[in-house]
Amino acid sequence: MEKLLLLGDEAIAQAAIDAGLSGIFAYPGTPSTEITEYIQASKEAKEKGIRSNWACNEKTAMEATLGMSYAGKRAMFACKHVGINVAADPFMNSAITGVNGGIIYIAADDPSMHSSQDEQDSRNFADFAMIPVLEPSNQQEAYDMVHYGYELSEKFKTPVMIRVTTRLAHSRAAVNVRRNARKQNEIKLLENEKQFILLPVNARRQYNELIAKQELLENAAKNDGFNKYIDGKNKKIGIIACGLSLNYLMENYTEKSCEYPILKISQYPMPVDMVNRLYEECESILVLEEGQPVYEAKIKGLLNKGKKVMGRLDGTIPRAGELNPAIVGKALGLEVAEGLPVPSVVAPRPPKLCEGCPHADTYRALNEVMEEHGKGKVFGDIGCYTLGALPPFNAISTTVDMGASITMAKGASEAGFLPAVAIIGDSTFTHSGMTGLLDCVVDNASVTIIILDNSITAMTGTQKSSATGRIESICQGIGVDPDHIRVITPLKKFHEENVKVLKQEIEYQGVSVIIPRRECIVYANKKRKDAKKQQK
């Protein structure tokens, strides 16, 4: 046993190493990135041969996770909440195949959208697929749940989701770490050789098995200790506190103990017996969930004819955004402290492109070219360059999901909305842009696709990009005319030249690709610093 100061993400990663992990598969995404990075940087993981390189996207990552499990080894997949959307196909179907070696899927949700385009709650997805969820309330539980999660996964032959949210992922605390690491699994064949062949005849049987498992999984949630019934004298309100919300509740009771009964929920399927006890004993129910009112809605039911159920749906708690101690305190009618108001002189300071960022030079050139074409013709994507939507550039009109710049530009172009320009980063292009580009080539759509190549996945903190050194050959391979694959250098001194190239290709009636290529300034500085350190 050893005490380490770890982020929630790092606690998960260390636990996976200690629990006999053979590989982690992931694409970077806030707030999940540090899990994979921790394993990549771990000497211990290297010695044990744990694989940890970044994947192209969440779907390829999850399928590789499944393959490693098929071979009998313990595997982990990690992504931000919207990554589950990308991996939804293998996610849903891996619930039907089940596992051989244990699988844990980490879903890092981002309520309040600190660094995301929505605040979807991954527990919905797990419920949809009918796989168990572990939702830690603190860093120690995150660590312990990885060990338990692999046992649960292998015992019931199901993938297990661990759901964390930003505040746990990116908050540090002392964690007791076991140091006698478990050995990795040996390669082992499936007991049922048809388990992973989802032909309808097999899938029907497997699906029935998945349904039959549900009762056992609920029993595990009831008996295995992460869910607790904490009795209280005052039965006016019974509180269901899911995951991290327990901490915000307890923060209101630092001086005295909570008078109401509390049902701490950190494992799903939700144990109905425990919920029923609370419901029977109390006059009303307050449901605290970080994210969406998933279980509040279930307990309340469509007709809402039972006891009063309070939470995000009846306005006791704000419908959107993350929880905090004051929100929970107010929901319980407690007096909560107030600070001073923010003085009106305080101006917002939104994030912006860094000084010296290559994207800024590209936007300056693009804006000049697009001036004559009117507003709304540039379709953006997900990455640092999304900040081109803000002043001073105001250069893009859409940001929806990874890869959507290319395909939305295509659709708009086919509506006759011309010229249609897509702007996408190198890593986002290999994540989800390549198939969209093939659609463009097949239909010979009139689109100009700008692939910003800064040789790194910058937004999430400079992770290696699968696109580096491959963009031209990918575009040619997909069928873009080599004469219309143009590389430019986004620097002030080449501005006139770059404007000319952009203008030519935007006027071209067909698929053209422009690649502004210059290293991310943050990455370049980091490399320089690292080189200096090595010299010393």
């Binding site: 909560v336 600070g339 923010v342």
Partner: protein
């Protein structure tokens, strides 16, 4: 004993390194701690903050409750004001560098920002940049501010010095000394008041 601290600034100004140093010192003293920080998009020139909670008892919430923060430590004056809803109105202190970091077009007049800080019951607003420059530690503003704040931290300054040593050891003795001197110079400012 508990102390709740918000460390804030703009991405790249060293607010998060100060948080790491206090954490190290607190852990060394056997205190419980939780530290929540901003990662991802806002680090690109946006406002960054860290909630750092220390206590001799177990800590529940990763976030500091509004109105209960004991200490706001900021390397930028307008950023210090942004977190006032968290400040304990009666006993809380704001320690901040007085020089604006202007990377937005609508940054208010410096005098207006400083006037707002003057209204606070307990604050130290000073030119930490100048002190760091005088010591030849051009990136040391955060250490100077931390030094001034150390008076209210309930952590021995020796423990902070030890944590600084641990953090910067790899970069050489010169950088360790330079940062410790910056810390002490900041502390001297607070002690003179």
């Amino acid at each position: 004993m508990k102390i709740d601290i918000i460390l804030c600034g703009v991405g790249g100004m060293g607010a998060l390194s100060s948080a790491a140093i206090i954490s190290k010192a607190a852990l060394d003293m056997g205190m419980h701690m939780k530290q929540a920080e901003t990662h991802g998009m806002s680090q690109r020139g946006g406002d960054v903050q860290s909630h750092l909670r220390l206590s001799d008892r177990e800590i529940a919430s990763d976030l500091i409750p509004e109105g209960e923060c004991d200490l706001i430590i900021s390397v930028e004056p307008m950023e210090a004001l942004r977190y006032l809803p968290f400040l304990n109105k009666k006993d809380g202190w704001v320690i901040t560098n007085e020089n604006p970091f202007i990377n937005i077009p609508n940054y208010p007049e410096k005098e207006v920002v400083l006037a707002e800080l003057k209204k606070l019951k307990n604050s130290i607003v000073f030119d930490a940049d100048q002190i760091a420059r005088d010591l030849g530690n051009f990136k040391g503003t955060n250490m100077v501010v931390l030094g001034a704040a150390s008076k209210y931290l309930k952590i021995d300054i020796e423990k902070l010095e030890k944590a600084i040593r641990g953090t910067f050891e790899k970069k050489g003795e010169e950088i360790v000394e330079s940062n410790i001197n910056s810390l002490r110079a900041g502390r001297a400012v607070a002690d003179k008041l």
